[in-house]
Symmetry: D2
Subunit: 309 residues, 4 copies
């Protein structure tokens, strides 16, 4: 068979190492067998390796071959997971690119999960999940991460108190007094509320072994309220009331997620990094508000008592 | 000078007419002198002409030349406007493409406008504006359109009534009665609220001659509330209260915009088409709700009394 | 059970009919049993109904319920298809919204298909597919549509001829002549090439009964070349050469798709509308070039002989 | 005047420090007076501060006030620049948020620049520019960055050599030999080419003082070819030929940008970080290829002789 020139493999002098070379936006169907069910996902993959200073180019077609091969390998594995898939791809990337020291793999996928609404209806809700692995040749363990993004609801605590004061002033100016006015301290009053996009990511060299469903549930419990695809009048009323009983700034959401996470997972290694972000698509502004915290579990456990810089 | 083959201009047999051929995503800076000020915009243009069945291709480079030439021409005009600019581009397109019968031009641009917030602060708010012209060779007048998109706030009337009933039930179950409970009929109670993206477009052969600012103001008056980039506590409270005094479905917003428009512009031609759309980025759902109405002013004027199919 | 006020169902006077009210961006997992295999898709749905002038609002929660119900119904059907699914949703929407005259359903989904590359490797390629149904109460048949979007390659015929002339001039200026120069008429020479996004949509009251795979294959045969996720050197060279043997303007791609479609499907009804669009993400410009044609098969069959306006 | 509760300012116990709290997607018009001309931009701002563990929330409205104030201040400055603007915003953020230790500001804006095409036509081309400042209370200098993103053209060196070999084989198989075949070593032959998006970012505590135009020109000189909004046949042919005389992998583009940058700016501080990325929207694939390098100028100057890990 005719051999064509290996332009990529040719050597160059005076070159520089390339930190990452690879592909973005590769989409594949993946089936993962989980205990009791099969999850069908369509992730988008971004993958890369590094390239030494004296080699002209990376062999790009091997990147896609590796993804395909790793997907096939994972289907045969006993413990199937997205974490396992990205790690497998990273290992195979290093095998394929014998000149590379590092391999990086990131994936992002829509995720669907059945949930019961406050009026007792089951419906499918959608989320986004993330996984990554970065491996260095010779290292036993890759740096792994998993993440989830959840759309829910946040209600503003500040505007609620201003509105409460305004409503009381207004009632007084209309001649009401006493318990007619004080009753407003007994109930939630209007405030602005909106979609809040909350994101949690964990990064660690050890296997993380937490189900995406658990993280989604944890985040939803820390929003003013989860949201639902189907709500009849009673369910809608309950969601609105629940959300107004738990008004939260983006800062509150971040802190509540961290507190809940630390309580629920006391045995995770202190070197694990957690990244939490909450973005409110403000209903009273045209721009978004956001808050985020990045830290190791070690720092944060200390920090729940005394948080240093 | 060396002549290169005019491949586009070559004739083909057995071909088909092309409805539109042109370019998308051309960005240019445009300055428009308006009475008393200069507006600086960065529109994105989509432009096209048709192509007869017997010609292989359109001369694409002429499209961009025409945009540049028309922008320069408009700068010298007495009555400068985006409507005038798209019409000028359309006319020049037909001159440049002697084989074309039709020319189409659409533009979209960010638009900034100073507005006073409820607590009396001036700040710049951002919007999107649209203009288009479609001209047929030989016709005196093009089909023109102008449009605006406005981000504001909508509050749900249905959830408010459910929540009111729930709060009254709750107060009664806690032993309250009489005026302590009835006071809830005197005040707005919590409901879900969210960003609402409202869009209005007018289409007509005649010059439309309505300022974008007027249409933006009209739409903002029909939302539950406009939104503001800067709100101090008092302003924020007022916006929330105002929005809760005017709870609106997407359907209500559409109808209020049409009603207000018909009242404010009684002399516009009955053949003018109006298209109104309202999209709520629902805070209690992960998906959006929307409503839209398209109709001629003639139909709608009739329809305000009796709306037929 | 406590009844909450039906605010949507309340009647309004002086209102206007709403052309469409519904939801955008609802995502669901769908399994379709096709002959010999099961297709797993994650479509995004946009659905709506109209609303009479005298009713305040549409019952939004029913929209999502209908999607869920229709997905379940289709799983039990003998001939499963996306066309069948959108039609079923439209029918159920009219049942749920007893006040509506029209129901509209559109879906869009990623689609994966295995394809053999020019160097004989099987790999999965990704596409986008579309389906819609618009039904009017009382009509026997909805207006249906199906569509596919395909990413491939286009090479410019015009630049190729200019470059050929330039290369010949250059060789002559370097002292070459005769067959050394004329050989350039025997081979493809460089031109600009780029991603081309081709889109084809069919609309008809009758069942369309064409597989998405067929339409994808038809479009790929009309591009300068299909593209492939994995190409080794030989395959890459073949794709480049094939694409340079078939240089095509966006106009050529449109016409070739129409010609091929008319030949391949001579028995489709003349009232069927076809919409074809080709968009080149120009490698020599920062903007895109595009062409499109919309027409009935009747017009186009006539037009392949003589194309009228 | 009525005082409303300062919910944000209230103290919390058991809280965590928030790394960043602020706003995303704020759009403003900015005029910058540059030597000899005025630049009009519409940047999008992302801004944030940190928040101590014992404070409930950040005062969000101050963020937008600060942007407005800083824009006004910069208009009065002698040396106006985007770098100066983001630094000014960061300084004002720390003044406004007396509890914050850090302030972060990022902006991104479309940028337009006139350029002469190979056939001697002046036209406006569009780019994206970036600037950021991160300041710590008490530090004299912020960490600053500037960046540019440029859309140009890349042509594949590997496919060109494969195609050359294939074309020569083909000519031989058709009976050609000698100079008729060898002529193919004298000319560029077809390969795949596509839009390439190149990005360069510099980060440093010192003022960077490099014009965006210079960086744009530097990057364009390192692509296979710049691209142009208007090209007549001759100019189009020249661009295609130029690009085929400089075939480049994404890796080549990265290395050429770094080499050129180091040569052109020998006096910049060794602590300055440079980040370079090149993304090819592959015309033969549906996904993108990319390469990136991050390093300090010190490392890279060393690395141009011997590049260590």
């Amino acid at each position: 068979m005719r051999e064509y020139p290996d332009v990529q493999g040719s050597s160059v002098s005076g070159g520089f190492k390339i930190s990452r070379v690879g592909m973005r936006g590769i989409r594949r169907e993946v089936k993962i067998a989980r205990p009791g069910r099969e999850v069908h996902l369509v992730p988008t993959f971004d993958i890369s390796v590094d390239l030494p200073a004296d080699q002209k180019g990376s062999h790009m077609s091997r990147h896609v071959e590796v993804i395909n091969r790793a997907i096939d390998m994972v289907i045969g594995m006993e413990n199937q997971s997205l974490e396992g898939l990205v790690e497998r791809i990273a290992i195979e990337l290093l095998k394929s690119h014998e000149y590379a020291k590092y391999a990086d793999v990131e994936l992002k996928a829509d995720y669907f999960m059945e949930k019961r609404s406050p009026d007792g209806r089951n419906a499918v809700e959608n989320y986004t999940i993330f996984a990554s692995a970065r491996i260095r040749r010779g290292d036993e363990k890759p740096m792994r991460s998993i993440g989830v993004e959840v759309s829910g609801m946040s209600t503003c605590p500040c505007a609620m108190e201003t509105v409460r004061a305004m409503l009381k002033d207004d009632l007084r100016s209309r001649g009401y007094s006493g318990s007619d006015v004080d009753i407003l301290d007994q109930i939630p009053v209007p405030t602005h509320n909106q979609r809040n996009i909350a994101f949690l990511k964990l990064e660690c060299r050890d296997e993380i072994n937490i189900e995406a469903e658990e993280l989604i549930g944890l985040i939803e419990s820390c929003l003013s309220s989860p949201t639902y695809e189907i709500l009849k009048r009673k369910g809608e009323g309950k969601v609105v009331l629940d959300a107004h009983m738990k008004p939260k700034f983006v800062e509150d959401i971040i802190r509540d997620i961290i507190t809940t996470f630390l309580e629920r997972y006391p045995d995770l290694p202190p070197t694990m990094t957690i990244m939490v972000r909450s973005t409110s698509e403000e209903s009273i502004h045209k721009h978004d508000a956001f808050a985020e915290r990045i830290g190791t579990l070690g720092e944060l456990r200390e920090g729940s008592r005394f948080d240093r810089d």
